[in-house]
């Protein structure tokens, strides 16, 4: 890399599991991967950096995967944790 060349950007991932498919709904779970490492959010949900997908979008995250509705069609059998959105950011 020359002195004038910008460092390569790296992808960060943010998984947000929400109460329903509305991107403004409550976050049930959160995981964050920055620079190849999992970064543990604070223990108290009140301190999580984002309280919804919309809040993360406001901070520059881009949604790359929406909840799979096929997994939500059997109301008698909940599968996994809420409705999962996956977001990315290049920094």
């Amino acid at each position: 890399m020359s002195d004038t060349e910008a460092p390569a950007k790296r992808q960060s991932l943010l998984y947000l599991q929400l109460r329903n498919t509305n991107p403004g709904s409550q976050v049930l779970g959160m995981s964050l991967f920055i620079a190849g490492k999992m970064v543990e959010p604070p223990a108290d949900p009140k301190d999580w950096p984002y309280q919804s997908v919309l809040a993360a979008i406001e901070e520059g995250w881009r949604v790359i995967s929406f909840p799979n509705l096929a997994l939500l069609m059997d109301e008698a059998v909940p599968q996994t944790l809420g409705c999962e959105f996956i977001l990315e950011k290049w920094t």
Partner: protein
């Protein structure tokens, strides 16, 4: 080989069994005497294998840990008479400090449904505050099917609970509850013994009967309510309670606002099977 059992009477009441159905685990803080905790810790200094099964050979361990009155009474309440004792011991032994956080998982072999044919039980022989990396569980998730492979990327989960506890704590879990190891910034050795008890009798409501307990009006709502469709956890907890009471054939859900949805009604809820009231 003749397998032993414990003959302690059941100790859990209707409400406590229901609480187990709703949450999927039960903490028994500090129930093992300090002298036994010390002996267990010292033994585990000499047997650092991840399966120190030979600790089961000692009468002091059988009497005070495996057949600990508080634990055995709870196990008897949930698994019925003549339940099978552990024949395998595991130790999640950790040298602290330890930075890594374990991934969320359900243990291999998890089977989903209302049945409870075994209990996975844990014992801390030493004080295990947050700094010593206690196991973290998500209450109510024994009712939320998932797989190891599909949950390894989970991080923080709303409503998760630490099992941080003093020495001598035993906690009972439904095998399929979601759990993980946590970071341990403290110092020293942290042992976490893990073992299973096994049902040998058909389920029956032969735990401690509670005067006034009313299955028609009991609150079956649980802590993992937001994880699935509204009220799903009420159905699942009620079905598990009926299964444990030996009344699974009488369990029914007619839908709408019928039993077992929580509500302030002025009469018996529609949909409640009268056969359950006579158990």
């Amino acid at each position: 080989m003749s397998r032993r059992t414990c003959d302690h009477p059941p100790t859990l009441t209707d409400s406590q069994v229901l609480e187990f159905c709703r949450h999927g685990f039960l903490m028994l803080p500090g129930v093992v005497p300090e002298e036994i905790n010390r002996r267990a810790f010292e033994y585990l200094e000499t047997d650092t294998h991840y399966e120190p099964t030979r600790i089961l050979d000692f009468d002091w361990f059988q009497d005070q840990v495996i057949c600990n009155p508080a634990a055995a009474g709870a196990v008897r309440s949930l698994l019925g008479p003549g339940y099978g004792l552990p024949i395998l011991m595991s130790n999640h032994r950790r040298q602290c400090p330890h930075e890594g956080v374990g991934g969320w998982h359900v243990d291999g072999g998890s089977r989903w449904g209302p049945q409870l044919n075994d209990l996975q039980v844990f014992y801390y022989p030493q004080d295990t505050p947050l700094e010593m990396g206690p196991t973290e569980v998500v209450p109510g998730t024994h009712l939320v099917p998932n797989t190891q492979r599909a949950m390894a990327h989970y991080g923080r989960i709303r409503g998760s609970a630490s099992t941080a506890a003093p020495a001598g704590t035993i906690f009972l879990t439904c095998y399929r509850i979601w759990h993980r190891a946590t970071a341990a910034p403290g110092s020293g050795i942290r042992n976490l013994l893990k073992y299973c008890y096994w049902r040998n009798a058909p389920p029956a409501r032969d735990w401690v009967r509670e005067p006034g307990f009313d299955m028609a009006r009991a609150n079956f709502s649980g802590p993992a309510a937001g994880f699935g469709e509204q009220f799903h956890e009420c159905y699942s907890a009620a079905e598990m309670f009926c299964w444990l009471a030996g009344q699974h054939p009488h369990y029914q859900v007619t839908g709408g606002q019928s039993w077992p949805l929580p509500a302030l009604r002025n009469d018996l809820p529609y949909g409640f099977n009268p056969a359950l009231a006579t158990v």
